[in-house]
């Protein structure tokens, strides 16, 4: 299970997480979210150390990091655009 979860519809595709990931295991998606932005994807989840750099640098608080990789799968994704 992934230690890092991206709320892809909250993402604006700035790429800050990709820039600061020390393991270089993030890339921007080919697809777009409901705002029309690309969003980050993990290329190699096993190498993620849950260091939290992506969480710290994300301007949109779209990232959740959990070292144990628990309960993240239940996280509801943002769908309401305006509020």
């Amino acid at each position: 299970m992934n230690k890092v979860h991206f709320d892809k519809h909250r993402c604006k595709g700035c790429g800050m997480c990709v820039l600061f990931c020390p393991q270089k295991i993030l890339r921007m998606s080919a697809g777009l979210n409901d705002q029309g932005f690309p969003y980050p994807e993990l290329t190699d989840p096993d190498r993620c150390t849950a260091c939290g750099m992506c969480f710290r640098m994300c301007p949109d608080c779209a990232i959740q990091v959990d070292k144990d990789g628990v309960k993240i799968k239940d996280k509801k994704e943002t769908t309401d655009v305006t509020k």
């Binding site: 604006k12 790429g15 939290g52 301007p59 305006t82």
Partner: protein, 244 residues
């Protein structure tokens, strides 16, 4: 390590900020500090005019909206009538250092017991990239197309250095949000600024150097480099005053 997740002091509303803007990081840090200090129920925030004009939608605490440049004056009134509340203002460089210079300096000089978060991105963001008081020498904007300083604009205004001469000021620090290390330092500075207010020590201001990729016309990576290489040189980071 505990789970790193979005704090409840921020609402679920998606911000209107441009991709790569430093405001989102600064919002998160302020919200996390409010949560950690357990002061959400008694915090009153004063929103500015500028890019952060809609921040009342993003925070789960009491918010007010203020005329351009006047947050320190409004915060003074709120704090004096309700001294048990925690009052902070969140202002950009056009708001705090241009139209609100008088309010800022006099609130600081009076030693009002408020916290000011000052976001310095060296440009007017919301109105489309005009020259701000903090625009760097030689930097191009829509109103300084040959670079600042070529036509008598003068050098950038250094707010921390300016306010450090005033006796009423308790705490001044300049930080940045361009690297994870700087983000952590910014959070420590913001926490200290709020703690000073809780302890009744007086006026605290944290200046945060922030990215504006849209109006600088740079990519995210280039704007991070711009803050790290050029802004930090013109605006040295550090503690400028600490009476604590």
């Amino acid at each position: 390590m505990p789970t790193l997740k979005r704090t409840n002091v921020l609402t679920e509303v998606r911000t209107h900020y441009c991709p790569g803007c430093g405001h989102g990081i600064a919002h998160r840090l302020v919200a996390e500090v409010i949560e950690e200090l357990g002061i959400r129920e008694k915090t009153i925030a004063v929103a500015p005019v500028g890019c952060a004009v809609l921040m009342y939608d993003y925070f789960n605490c009491d918010m007010t909206e203020c005329p351009h440049g006047r947050p320190p004056a409004m915060a003074t009134g709120i704090k004096r009538t309700q001294p048990d509340k925690i009052v902070f203002t969140y202002q950009g460089d056009g708001d705090l250092a241009a139209i609100g210079t008088a309010e800022t300096i006099h609130a600081a000089n009076r030693g009002e017991n408020i916290t000011v978060i000052f976001i310095n991105n060296a440009i007017y963001g919301m109105t489309g990239g005009q020259m701000a008081p903090t625009t760097l020498t030689g930097m191009r904007s829509t109103t300084s197309q040959d670079g600042r300083g070529e036509h008598g604009e003068g050098p950038p205004l250094k707010v921390c250095e300016l306010l450090s001469t005033l006796d009423g000021v308790c705490y001044l620090e300049r930080t940045a949000v361009s690297t994870p290390k700087d983000v952590n330092a910014t959070k420590r500075a913001i926490k200290k600024a709020f703690q000073n207010q809780i302890d009744g020590r007086g006026f605290s201001l944290v200046e945060v150097l922030s990215m504006c990729p849209t109006d600088w016309k740079l990519s995210t990576a280039q704007s991070v480099d711009f803050v790290n290489n050029e802004m930090k040189e013109a605006f040295p980071l550090g503690v400028y005053k600490d009476k604590g």
